[in-house]
Assembly symmetry: C3
Homo-oligomer: 676 residues x 3
Amino acid sequence: MAAANMTVIRVGESTWSQWEPEDGRFDLEWMTPVLDGAHERGISVILGTPTYAIPMWLARRYPEIAGEPKTGHPLGWGARQEVDYTHPAFKFHAERVIRKIIGRFASHPAVIGYQVDNEPGLLSFHNRGVFQRFTDELRHRYGTVENLNKEWGLVYWSHQLSTWADLWTPDNNAQPQYDLAWRQFQAKLTTEYLAWQASIVREYSTPDQFVTTCIAYDRPSQHDEDMTRSFDITAGNPYYAMQDAFGVPYSSGGAPQGWATSGAWTLFQSGDRMYSSKQAPFLVTETNAGAIGGSAMQYPAYDGQWRQAAYALISRGAEMIEYWHWATNHYGAETYWIGVLPHDQKPGRVYRELARLGKELETAGSALTGLTPDARIGMIYSNDSKWALAGQPCFLLEPPMTGDERSYQKIFEAFYRGAHNAGAPVRILHDTQIAGPEGAILNPAEVAKELPVIIAAGLYIADDSLLDWLSAYARAGGHLVLGMRTAYADHEARARLDVKPAKLDAGVTYQEFSQINVPLEIEATGVLRLSPQARATRWVDYLEPGEATVLARYKHPQFGQYAAVTTVETGAGRITTIGTLPEDTLAADIIHWLVPEKATYWSELPASVTAHSATAADGARIHFLHNWGWDPVTTAAPVPMCDVLDPELASLEKVELGPWDVRVLREDKGDQSAHS
Amino acid sequence: MAAANMTVIRVGESTWSQWEPEDGRFDLEWMTPVLDGAHERGISVILGTPTYAIPMWLARRYPEIAGEPKTGHPLGWGARQEVDYTHPAFKFHAERVIRKIIGRFASHPAVIGYQVDNEPGLLSFHNRGVFQRFTDELRHRYGTVENLNKEWGLVYWSHQLSTWADLWTPDNNAQPQYDLAWRQFQAKLTTEYLAWQASIVREYSTPDQFVTTCIAYDRPSQHDEDMTRSFDITAGNPYYAMQDAFGVPYSSGGAPQGWATSGAWTLFQSGDRMYSSKQAPFLVTETNAGAIGGSAMQYPAYDGQWRQAAYALISRGAEMIEYWHWATNHYGAETYWIGVLPHDQKPGRVYRELARLGKELETAGSALTGLTPDARIGMIYSNDSKWALAGQPCFLLEPPMTGDERSYQKIFEAFYRGAHNAGAPVRILHDTQIAGPEGAILNPAEVAKELPVIIAAGLYIADDSLLDWLSAYARAGGHLVLGMRTAYADHEARARLDVKPAKLDAGVTYQEFSQINVPLEIEATGVLRLSPQARATRWVDYLEPGEATVLARYKHPQFGQYAAVTTVETGAGRITTIGTLPEDTLAADIIHWLVPEKATYWSELPASVTAHSATAADGARIHFLHNWGWDPVTTAAPVPMCDVLDPELASLEKVELGPWDVRVLREDKGDQSAHS
Amino acid sequence: MAAANMTVIRVGESTWSQWEPEDGRFDLEWMTPVLDGAHERGISVILGTPTYAIPMWLARRYPEIAGEPKTGHPLGWGARQEVDYTHPAFKFHAERVIRKIIGRFASHPAVIGYQVDNEPGLLSFHNRGVFQRFTDELRHRYGTVENLNKEWGLVYWSHQLSTWADLWTPDNNAQPQYDLAWRQFQAKLTTEYLAWQASIVREYSTPDQFVTTCIAYDRPSQHDEDMTRSFDITAGNPYYAMQDAFGVPYSSGGAPQGWATSGAWTLFQSGDRMYSSKQAPFLVTETNAGAIGGSAMQYPAYDGQWRQAAYALISRGAEMIEYWHWATNHYGAETYWIGVLPHDQKPGRVYRELARLGKELETAGSALTGLTPDARIGMIYSNDSKWALAGQPCFLLEPPMTGDERSYQKIFEAFYRGAHNAGAPVRILHDTQIAGPEGAILNPAEVAKELPVIIAAGLYIADDSLLDWLSAYARAGGHLVLGMRTAYADHEARARLDVKPAKLDAGVTYQEFSQINVPLEIEATGVLRLSPQARATRWVDYLEPGEATVLARYKHPQFGQYAAVTTVETGAGRITTIGTLPEDTLAADIIHWLVPEKATYWSELPASVTAHSATAADGARIHFLHNWGWDPVTTAAPVPMCDVLDPELASLEKVELGPWDVRVLREDKGDQSAHS
């Protein structure tokens, strides 16, 4: 590892049966030589708690702790993450083993921090204790069943409760208010569980050690922003399809978006999501070494793609890149989750590529830590809206006619990808970081200066304080962009009584909306410049303009009555409303209009090249140029630059990129006034 | 509502928890102002019983009443229609609340009728009591297990019973005789349940009030003809895809046939199905207002399509059109089942379109009630065959190789659509209305005069008396048309021992049949005129002609040995046999041959226009012209007509139709001899 | 039957409720007239035990014997093969009824043999007793949990056992070592069960009677080679898509590979699989009469195809062809499993075709029994590898990203089909027939003489003794061909620590591999001649040649770095390594290179014609020529031949074949030196 320039490892997670082979019998010392050996070689260690994989003896003695994805149907033991982590019989044993491990090793000089549990939030626990607590919390929040009946509109379909004991279990629920409350509640259980683990670890940790968990961002039962409040730093586990899915322009080639993402743009989106959890730099605790996902999904990177992924994440604030895992297992469930060393244990291609990366990062030193990634556009992320649209989806999949659990993500990604394709960097802001029940958290006028454009798309769940904040942002000079479903429902997932978009002076209203199965042509009617292939997809809000100017219309005998894009001045700013889901071209066209000055810095980049930038801790301007394709390219540097990864290359006026290459450059002189 | 020319509302269904918030505590008076308010405005009221959505307190106290779709697996509470409505613990409470409600409001002057329950027959109850009753009924019908063993052929796969306790539950049944008996039994439970509710309501109702239920015709566990015998009038809830699915010529555009139908032709088919239940005019108790089906299925009508749907249903006997529902819910499961008023509660496009329709119907007055829809072709509908083919399906869906639950419907629809496309109106006759265990119900000779052509397609289950009747119909002068699977099995779903088609002198026989995955070309060999694009699809019976004349053959080295269509005279009539599933062109070609005179009335209708006609109560001839498309068209009237919806337009010789338009016309002078 | 030249029938299976209508009450005599009647007509009888369909009274009394596909979820009664045949309550009753039946009829002169049970191995029993025995067997094999923890690598994901009671049930298992052991164990239960039945039957049978079972080769829980050791002869039930799926060149037309196969080539593969179980001629106990598979799968043969199928099976060693079944049922689950007589019970097309076949076989007499099918290539079949790749699949099906249970079969079939298309006959060898834990079973040098080429593809599970044997075979002069996944894992499904391919001097190594979604072009770099349309599909091993010569490379910027096909001399022989899954053209190109002399015997066969050959018991050379298409063809005979099926046709120099025709020929003079 040391030879490969590895500087940090993660150990100890999911090895409970090693730490505690039988109930109350502990074996801790096998870890000592590991930590000592790392320390001797200058390798730091993140020590994990082992709780996400419980030993079978615990499952055998207390079968009641098995998580129930359906009421009364406990999950069978055999993989991991099968346990109801709110159950006291689990927590008792988890606490004991955590105290043993952390108490023993907290003072070891190799340990720089802790990871509690691993990728939490996989399940929705339908266990009896969990459901009873859900009922209790509703009772505390709403006071009486009469009040709940009223707030949730339970008169419909005869759902009124006569007593709290009437609350039905979630298994066959069809009530969106219940559904949202249940999903929020499940995420809260995850937040609580991790905060509890973190507090135990902190009884032993030293002040310079951090506590975190590693987050799989697509887990359903977690709220990343809420959850990371208990941690010192965010840590995430981005996985992604490699090979052709990295190509720019993007084509998925069949690789789906899910726990593994698809597309070079998703590397940046994952980075921005991780940054957004705490609005700060972050750790990457796991990412693709060899092929990932098991024997049915073997797509190891093309030569060069590891460097590309790593610098993409670094450009958005990653301060560490760890690979899962070092040596590939010869047995067990993850035999085909390929590590740095292949099954023959001999250094090979992955090793060579990562050793080169390690060498480069050693060369770069502190130049690439403490970066502030550039951002020209803010995008609001709402876990509540994600959950509500998962239960109340807005896209048709046929046949059969079922909704799409990823409805929110698809809306968000359409705009993120548009921004990426248009070269406009994004800062993701959580709704919960902007405004809360007590009102504004951020100052709208200050945000309008820092992020002159904010996109709120798919923001189905928005309480009054958030809508007020968005209004204030626009009036203070910001350009607020509304996408489909935004400002439709309130915090209880009730469709608002207001004319839509609710409570925003968008100069346009709609009463109806329609899905569309065939993309629609669209024509510009104002200042917006549209490409011939720009299309509206999946959805049409029946926008009827009031004071707003129509920027685009549909070419269709019915939908042509309605505006596709409108804009209106409001106070010192502006609100633009988009009534459809833009495909890539239309999305990029809109972004180009929103951020027209963007294209000037790197002139005429080849089609396969992306450019990202950040400001280093010392104020230096850092640029990341990726070539996402097989053909070598050369581009002119707008100002002389030096190569961060190779100090001998200075005052560069041309930048050459090989196949699947990336260059990290620092401006020789900081011409920052125009491009911050 | 009054301003929108609404004249009738439905109230009270699915609000049990409102009527009876706790066991035995009733709250009835909230309904009084609703009924009073309606009455003051001249709006009539259909009062519903609330039984299809039970309150949670009832589910909590008597969990044994939860319906079990699988033995021992009760359905979780959370939506509606989850209860075993044969269970006495349910019936006790249902009866009590019905008596309270109907007893209190039967005398209210606004109440014109009652709807008991709602869209029954959703489930197949596997509850213990239901299964035990099934066993008892088999015991009563067959007497001994030895007799059942013999009738059902239980020797195969060692299924012979030694005692009634041996009867297996339906969960893993693979026996088609059992399967048909089980489906029939479930439908009978539904019929009984509704008759029981109707009898309770009739203890209170006044002579001028009617009793009905609203039927979703695709529910598996119901027999519409049997069920409606307990009612004064049929009421149905047709739903359908709108927008492009209304286009003529028809293309589904991906909208499936199911609880919602797809195609303008299905509006007429739904009307004819509702008419057929009691062979009488009917009510439409629910139909599309805004977009239907939840947030994942949003396709609100194009301008004009509401009128089109309403007049299509009226042309086939609808005497009322109600929309579900008035104001769109802001909460609950049907938040995206859009009503007349959108979520902002302000009259909008739906309101305007329906208000116009209401105004027109007010103008039309009694001219459009009591219609007798024209019919040139009879089509036999068989719920038994539908069930038997669902369990013994005849179409291959691959992969995997599973049958198609809608096999019967696909066969029936192929011919109905053919008739519709050829402009030949259809009267649907239930098999149970034609002949029964005691023999003929209708007189074959009289039917042959009224309906000179009868199509029996997919009539897999047919007892001897029905086959005898079909023979008699042909001998008496009728033209009997046999489609695939007709006259194959007996009333026990046993393949008949006879040569097929069994017991009919069709002049043709077959021993084998084959699915075909690729449509086959077909060539006419007789008087039948075939379009170049006519095709045989999905199925080939190996028809070997005897005395029959071959009208068409397949172009195929193997299937070309067999006839595709044959015809033979029998007595004063004729039997035509079709050995394949015709696609639209072939089906229309066949119908044109069966009903050659049809095309003469409206000469040269544009391709997007359909014409339907009916005779009013006063003998006037009424014509409905629809333009199912965007382009305006004009057509010549064969005789001068006046506009039923606009008295100022009289003696019309040309009829203009705008986009998605419909005109309702009355002949100025009744030239009825040629066109009745 | 006699008139149709039927000479053997199977009776008595799946009629337990007939034999024993109630517990302990037996009725045996209904069979007597059946056996007597057969005997009088010269028809032999295979008598079955009825155990695969238990009577309901047994299921009712002992519900604990119901098989559990999931722990605690017994399969509902209603079809057949629902019982845990390891359960003593079942075995007690099964033994009693077997003794009654066989004891009564063993001495009947019509009985020539016995079939015990029917198509076993359908389920994987998760019943308590089965799982407890699994645990006990692991305890006996591994001694201690510590040893199991070590052998299975249970440290990962905290799976270490503290005691045997910790072993988890298979329901949610994610551990490949467990998975393989479980599948092997289930197959062993089937082997044991059949051996137990055979031993009971043998207490009564006479020396000239045989005992067998009829095998459905795709059943998951069976090992055909191990299972047939208890039998006197192999018997199998091949089913297959007919009609266009028989066409050559092959196109599936949508017919899947599964319990029914698709493609004329699969007839020969099925024959070779049956031959391989005991390396001896075999019986066909069931095969397609009319359309098979239920009412949703009706594709009866084209005229002539029955003869084609029968002679294809005979050419590979079939000594009997039985059809399932004689008369088509009018009731029950298999109403649409069409027999020789259709539902109208009158002899028809199927009868005529099979009667002709019977007549021909009568004419052929002993000329077609005792054949030794020709073989030029050996192919290794590994049930262990099939199971391991089913649990550790190597093909991507998307979306979602799940593996393919038929991964092994797809690899095997790619090479088998290649050999078939190239005209090179195959001998299938079980891994368990080659080498075992005690070392070599066959002599490598002798095999190298008899089978100069052996293909080992998909041989994922291979213990050291098997790999040693393969090495020895090549060193002794054989040409060993390695396909993807071969020599990767050991007998515990652990990825080997060796460089791959492990333990074979292939002159090439790889560390990585990749799936490919788009077929890759490939170019020859040596003696291999490639067709322009040759492609690599699905998979690329990153082959890095050492001493081996590269024969082909990929055309791809990344994969082009690696060899696609390499070859190297080793000892007196050669090892060729193929790093991808060849599609049909590439597979045939490779086979042509492996067996270059093959194409010479029948020169210029038409594209739709295949030729197979065998040596009769008397040394005569028999040739089977099939024309798999509609167009008649003529081809020249390389030596004069006579027609086995029509003695009047002798000294033929030209062979004419009609549509879907087959000719069986004997060489007039045996020119066997070149073509054995």
